[in-house]
Structures are given as C-alpha cells and as structure tokens.
C-alpha cells in the first residue's frame, strides 16, 4: 500500500497552500508530518486522501490516480481521521465504530457478519471492547480518541491518515495513543500522522516530513531530519538536539532566551 504525491499543487479556491510537492509514503512506514502552524500539514493530508482536489499534479494510491478511483474504493484502502470528526449526540461506542463500515455497505448490502467481525477486532485492538455500550460523550478524552481510532480501524484499510490525533490529550494519554499507533504500524499498517510534538514525532515515527509554507523542507529518518539546523529552518527555533536517554531518538531542547544556561550559539557552549 503506497501513497505518492507527484508535483502536487493544492489549496483552497485560487490560493494555493502548497505548490509542486513531491512525497512518497513508503509501505509499512510510520510517517510523521511536522511543521509550524498553518504550514499546510492538514491541507496536505486532505489532498492526499482525496478530500481536496489538487489544482495540479496528482496523488497515486498503489500507483493509480486517486481522483480516478471511486470514493468507496478509496475509502476501503485509505482511512482518515480528520480533526473535525463529530460524534452525534447520544451515540454509543459500538454504533460509532460501526459507522466505519460505511464504505462496505450499500442499499443492497446491509450490516453483515464481516462488519461485525471488523468492529469487534477494532474495539479489541484499541482496548475499547468494555466501552462498547457506553455513550461517546461520557468518555474521557483519551478513551474517546481511542474510539475514533477504532472507527477508522473498522474501515480495514492498510493506510491510516491521522490529523493531530493527540491534540487535547494529557501527556499520559498522548503516549498511550502513540504506542497504540506504533503497535498498529508494527502489525503492518502504514501510518501517516500530523503531530505537533517534535519529540514524540522523533521517538515514534520511522520517517519525518518537515514542512514550512506549504513546501517540504526535509524528509527522512528521525536522525536525519530532527537536527538543530533543520529545526531552526522549519520553526525559527534555536535548539540543541541530544540523544533521548530513554529511547535513543533525537530529543529537541529549545534554547529560548530565558533561564538558559547555554548561550544562544551551540558553538560557544562550554
């Protein structure tokens, strides 16, 4: 399951957000897209998932132009959890997860055993089986986010796109969610996530895509992308990058200007 953007220009009515973007999401990777606010990360995700029609260039899903594929055909291969997803009032967890089966249903093909099985599995993998009969609005933020992931998993796609899945979660639930995604990735799913936290991106991602102003400035393994020089170019933030003593991944330490024991320039450090 590969996803490729070729010379992609995308955006909203006349005003392009990104121009001539090339990107390959490798099969089996956990790609994390990072970048400052309004750099076009979410818009890129929408263009990659066919929600936004590109004004030039194309997106290939398994080598086929995604715009030429049927919308349900795409939805059976590529799942997307947007930031804007809403749970209708009074919906139960099981009902919400079941809606992930929409691409498999039609007027002639209603709820089937395969749907049942897919939902059971999605609940189990995300550890939400016990919540199945609860109302979504009664859940904690962390539980709710796992339920949404279960909804996308019920779609049974090899490719998962997630737009800032950890926003609004406390640190413990962020880590719990990142580990869930890592587990899903290791079980064979290709994952693309937009994240704000660089350190989580570096620790859990297998590839990092750094964006700024609608363009991809750097792309590669965490150690190649999360460097002091690239972080400054992408975020205008001076920092030091050390090896995370826990995971060995690069760890970004912003220098800032207040209470910093190191001087602004890393070269001048004692």
């Amino acid at each position: 399951m590969t996803l490729e953007a070729i010379d992609l220009t995308f955006g909203y009515s006349a005003r392009p957000v990104g121009e001539h973007v090339d990107l390959t999401i490798e099969e089996g990777s956990f790609t994390v897209v990072v970048g400052p606010n309004a750099c076009g990360k979410s818009t890129l995700l929408r263009a990659l998932s066919r929600l936004l029609k590109p004004s030039a260039g194309q997106v290939l899903l398994d080598g086929k132009a995604i715009q030429s594929m049927g919308s349900k055909q795409v939805a059976r291969r590529l799942g997307l959890l947007p930031q804007t997803a809403l749970a209708p009032e009074g919906i139960t967890v099981a009902d919400l997860v079941g809606r992930g089966r929409h691409p498999y249903q039609s007027a002639l093909r209603q709820w089937s055993r395969a749907d049942e099985e897919a939902c059971r599995e999605a609940l189990e993998v995300t550890g939400t089986t016990d919540l199945a009969d609860r109302l979504v609005e009664e859940l904690s933020g962390g539980q709710r986010q796992r339920v949404w992931i279960a909804m996308v998993l019920a779609q049974q796609t090899g490719l998962l796109l997630l737009d800032e899945p950890t926003t609004f979660l406390d640190i413990a639930h962020q880590i719990e969610l990142m580990e869930l995604l890592t587990r899903l990735n290791r079980e064979g799913r290709t994952i693309v996530a937009v994240l704000h936290d660089l350190n989580q991106a570096a620790r859990y991602g297998t590839r990092i895509v750094a964006m700024r102003d609608g363009a991809i400035l750097a792309e590669g393994a965490p150690h190649e992308v999360v460097t002091a020089e690239i972080v400054e170019r992408v975020f205008d933030l001076k920092c030091r990058v050390i090896d995370d003593p826990v995971s060995g991944a690069p760890l970004v330490l912003p220098l800032g200007s207040i209470d910093s024991t190191t001087s602004m320039s890393p070269d001048a450090a004692p």
Binding site: Y12, L78, L86, L96, R99, H102, P103
Partner: protein, 321 residues
C-alpha cells in the same frame, strides 16, 4: 418504537374516521374500509373523512422526514424547514398569487415557487465553499424575518376579501381537502422519497462531519444537495396543498430521538412521529373546540411551547459548556 407510533397513528386515524357530526363506531369504520357497508357510511367515511386522515398521516410523515433531514444536515435541532424560511417563502408566493389572481386558484404553484426560491436563496446566501449548519440557520432566520414583514405588508395592502383568503391559507389547515389533494400529494411525496431514500443512507456518515464522511466514501456535496432538494420538495408539497403547518418538522425528529434513544435524528422514526403528531393535532383541532380550528394553529401552540423549551435548554447547555 416505530411500531408503537404506527399503532398510535392508526388508532387516531380510526377515531378520526369515526368521530364527527355523524358518529360511527370503530367496528363500522373498519368494515367500511374493507368494503362491507352501507352507501351512507361509504360516503361519510371514504368520501368525506378518509382523504383528511390520509393527508394528515402523509403530510405529518413528510414534515417529520423533512425535519429529520434538515436537522441532520445542519446538526442543529433548530435547523428545521419552518425555522429556516421555507414556510415564510411559500406564504409569500401564495399571498402574491392570491393578490394577483384574486382567488386561490394559483395558490399551489405560487406556494411551491415561493418555497423553493426561498430555499435556494437561503442556500446561496449561506454558501461559502459548502454549506455549514449554523450559517444556514442564521441566514434562514434572517430571511424568515424579512419575508414575515413583506407578508404582513402584502396582506395589509390587499383588499379585505383577499386578505381573508390569505389569512385562511396562512393558518395551515386540512379543511376542505379531498381525494384530488391526496393523489397529487402522494405523487409528489413519492418523487421526493426517491431522491431522499437514495441519499438517506449517507446521513449516518454525514453525521460525523464533512471530512469524516468524505473519508468514509461519501460524496458530501452531492448527497447534501440531494437531501436538501428532497427535503425542500417534501415541505413544499405540504405547504402548497395545506398551507404552512409549523413545528411538526421541528418537533417530530427531536421527540422521536428521545423516545428511541437513538444517536442523532433518524428518518423513519421521525416520519412516524410526524404522522402521529399531525393526525392527533388535527383531531384536537377538529373536535376539542366549539368551532373547527385549523391544524396549523394547534401545531403552532404546541410547537411554540416546545420551541421555547428547546431554546432555553440549548442556551443553558451553551452557558455550561
């Protein structure tokens, strides 16, 4: 739940067929319906009362369904066709034709055109790369207010007898409707249903938000347009034939949702609830008062109380959250 509502509606229908100046027992009503009866009963039940009962059920269901569609699309219990301007627009169309023609002969096309033009206007004014629920409601309420003043102006300037005709039509009533209206109403509602049922399955996904729905393989704008058209046609049919019957579309989906404890508003229970509400309201209008009261007045009174309750509840919720 839908079964319970069907039973209630059927019971109300039998009562509606039996009660009146000539009282007929329930047994005789059923007998007449299956064809074992005297010519007198046949006339009273089948010719006089059956069309009205059928219309109440049909129109109630159509309004309940239209309400479910609009509330679902706008994700707001206030987003019903009567709140967002269709009734007011249909009334403008009706009054205009009554004034121009001096009679109610052109009221049906007039109301249809008025309702549909208003719907389009509200849709276009609220459109900004897709239609969003809240904007549709705010624009709809503004358009309703403007049309309301236009309607008052038209009625005030018109000759007394014309104003009277307009007022009678504007109350929304099943009085004087016959098999003619049943046939046309059924045909028009059937066409609208074809559109709605096709796109209706997408509502379960659309409820999750536009992007989530699109990611699940729904063609969002196309489905929404089909549902808007279907819902408008349902409302317009009822309004054209019976006049504006307010609040059924507003209340039925919400009451049905609470009774069925379902997630979001659903189409079938809403339609069943709408049918129940309208037929019961029409029974009340016909028999609870010394004179026959148009069903539109009954629904306005009942629905008005409901609307106040809904607004208070929503306002409280927003303060708390």
């Amino acid at each position: 739940m839908t079964v319970v509502l069907a039973v209630v509606a059927t019971t109300a229908a039998v009562i509606g067929l039996g009660v009146g100046e000539i009282r007929i027992s329930a047994v005789d009503v059923v007998r007449t319906l299956v064809g074992e009866t005297s010519p007198t009963l046949e006339t009273v039940v089948t010719q006089w009362r059956l069309p009205r009962v059928l219309l109440a059920v049909m129109f109630g269901a159509a309004l309940g369904l239209a309400g479910a569609i609009f509330q679902s699309l706008t994700r707001n219990p206030l987003g019903s066709p009567d709140v967002i301007g269709f009734d007011a627009g249909a009334y403008t169309g009706a009054v205009t034709t009554i004034i121009l023609a001096g009679s109610t002969s052109l009221v049906i096309p007039g109301a249809l055109v008025g309702g549909i033009v208003t719907a389009l206007l509200v849709y276009l004014l609220a459109y900004r790369s897709g239609v969003h629920g809240f904007r549709l409601i705010v624009v709809g309420i503004a358009v309703t207010a403007m049309l309301g003043s236009l309607n008052s102006y038209l009625v005030l300037k018109a000759p007394v007898e014309v104003a009277q005709m307009a007022a009678v039509w504007g109350a929304g009533s099943l009085n004087g409707l016959e098999w003619f209206e049943v046939r046309w109403g059924a045909l028009s509602i059937a066409v609208a249903l074809l559109v709605v049922v096709g796109a209706g399955r997408q509502l379960a996904a659309l409820d999750l938000g536009d992007d989530a729905a699109a990611a699940l393989g729904v063609r969002v704008e196309r489905s929404r347009l089909a549902l808007l058209l279907g819902g408008t046609a349902l409302t317009a049919t009822v309004t054209a034939l019976a006049g504006p019957i307010a609040f059924v579309a507003l209340a039925a989906p919400q009451v049905a949702r609470r009774l069925t404890r379902s997630a979001g508003v659903r189409m079938v229970p809403s339609a069943a609830m709408g049918a129940c509400l309208l037929i019961v309201a029409d029974l009340i209008g016909q028999h609870a008062f010394p004179a026959v009261v148009p069903v539109g007045l009954v629904t306005v009174v009942v629905g008005g109380l409901y609307l106040v309750w809904l607004l208070v509840r929503q306002a409280r919720k927003e303060i708390h959250s």
